[in-house]
């Protein structure tokens, strides 16, 4: 349970980190908080000769309000930075509500936003939050910068759109519409463990409560976080009531869930139906939100 021999390089700028990444190619891995990579190294599932430690790039850490109501979060911001941020609480209540559910406090003190997104664990909260909020990821490489919608970024288990010479530098979160509804809910056997199933959702509503658009995201049940388009379609255009939420549930029939040693596919689908109903009831004010 010790990492294989390795060297650690500590660049202090994004440009320097990228040049090191190009220079060392597949011998090197980027490390930010390390809360997912360190266990991988300890179990020798990966044995890079070089780690490029991003923690010295201070410019990558910070949560920035934009004049248009959007928020830009630097990739090196730690989960606890978001958990404690007044700006996040005000503009991104979905993220504020979800943070206490992410792992354990010791992990959140160190783990970074960019690291979680780049790792792309199927049961991680952040990819789901980015999908539910319509986030865009900013990636840099020696070839330049580009912005990738979260919807295009997550491609499978630990698989993303990020190229080998790229690093995530920031997450852009658009301004919420007035009166946007949201909910976050997950279930794990022990608080802080990876979720067996979770739901993150946002819904834009008209002043009289009709749903104009919704992003309902499930995580933990398949290869990566995914929207539930049938359920969204069943909700959009309605003015949700407890009855109409119940009536929308058959829209989940098409979802497929994986089986593993934590839970069977059947159990995950049961959880999905239960949690989706609860999330919708919370979002539209029919149930109290559940504290972690």
């Amino acid at each position: 349970m010790k990492p294989a021999p390795l060297d650690i390089l500590a660049p202090t700028s994004v440009a320097h980190a990228l040049s090191l990444l190009v220079e060392h190619g597949d011998q090197a891995r980027l490390i930010a908080g390390g809360q997912s990579l360190m266990p991988i190294l300890a179990m020798r599932l990966a044995a890079p000769a070089i780690l490029i430690d991003l923690n010295g790039i201070g410019a990558l850490r910070g949560i920035h309000a934009q004049a248009d109501g959007s928020v830009i979060i630097g990739a090196l911001s730690r989960h606890r930075d978001l958990e404690r941020s007044d700006l996040v609480a005000e503009r991104l209540p979905l993220i504020a509500a979800a943070m206490p559910w992410v792992a354990h406090v010791q992990i959140r003190n160190r783990g970074t936003i960019g690291g979680s997104l780049a790792h792309a664990d199927p049961a991680a909260e952040l990819p789901a939050l980015c999908l539910a909020l319509g986030a865009t990821l900013e990636l840099h490489s020696p070839r330049g910068a580009r912005h990738v919608a979260a919807a295009d970024f997550f491609q499978g288990v630990f698989a993303t759109e990020r190229a080998d010479d790229e690093m995530i530098t920031a997450v852009h979160l658009p301004a919420a519409s007035p009166g946007q509804r949201w909910a976050f809910i997950e279930l794990a056997r022990r608080h802080g463990d990876f979720a067996l199933c979770g739901i993150a959702l946002t819904a834009d509503c008209s002043p009289i409560g009709q749903v104009l658009g919704a992003r309902i995201v499930v995580f933990g049940v398949s290869d990566c976080a995914q929207r539930l388009p049938q359920l969204e379609a069943a909700i959009v255009g309605t003015t949700p009531t407890p009855t109409s939420i119940d009536q929308a549930m058959p829209a989940l029939d098409q979802v497929e869930a994986r089986s593993d040693h934590h839970a069977s596919s059947e159990y995950r689908l049961e959880l999905l139906a239960t949690l989706a109903r609860r999330a919708l009831r919370q979002a539209f004010g029919f149930d109290e939100r559940i504290a972690p």
Binding site: L6, D7, G34, V105, Q106, I107
Partner: protein, 176 residues
């Protein structure tokens, strides 16, 4: 190739310097180079919490950090909580409540709870349970640990109240 380097860390207010393999975790540095074996090596992949220390006052898992990454921070281990031979009020509360049996998880529990009480001095039971959820204990069933942390928080609140009352002006007539 097995890269080595000189690593200098600030631990419990002291400077510890050692030449060691670059791959060494903070956990192994503390135990093997600094001789501070109060920090326990459990799972070594971030699950059990036995290796929890504080980095700049925040609880972190020392098995999930390389020693070479934390040379700019202040590290506190269980040995740094109280002067040798004495106990903090939190440690005394653990003893009072039988919050340990074998003691393997205790350093991690203490470092996590100490950081919790600094950040939220009056946590409710749910907050204590959530904060300690990343620390496994196979002896106590957790309940005595939760009670010790809550008792410590309560004692501190009472002490603060008494101190406030001693310093409160006496001319205001009390309840007004």
């Amino acid at each position: 190739m097995n890269p080595t380097r000189e690593i200098t860390l600030r631990v419990n207010g002291n400077t510890v310097r050692a030449v060691c393999e670059t791959r060494i975790t903070l956990l192994d540095f503390l135990r093997d180079q600094a001789g501070l074996t109060g920090t326990h090596a459990g799972c070594e992949h971030g699950v059990c919490g036995a290796c929890t220390v504080q980095l700049d006052g925040e609880s972190v898992r020392s098995c999930l950090l390389f020693a070479a990454q934390v040379s700019t921070g202040e590290i506190t281990t269980v040995e740094g909580l109280a002067p040798a031979g004495s106990l903090t009020d939190l440690q005394r509360a653990f003893r009072r409540h039988h919050a340990l049996q074998c003691g393997f998880c205790t350093p991690g529990m203490l470092m996590t709870a100490d950081a919790l009480l600094r950040e939220s001095p009056n946590p409710d039971e749910a907050a204590v349970r959530a904060a300690l959820s990343g620390n496994l204990c196979r002896c106590t069933g957790y309940q005595p640990i939760i009670e010790a942390v809550l008792d410590c928080a309560e004692s501190r609140a009472e002490a603060t109240l008494r101190a406030d009352q001693r310093h409160a002006p006496t001319t205001s007539g009390g309840a007004a």
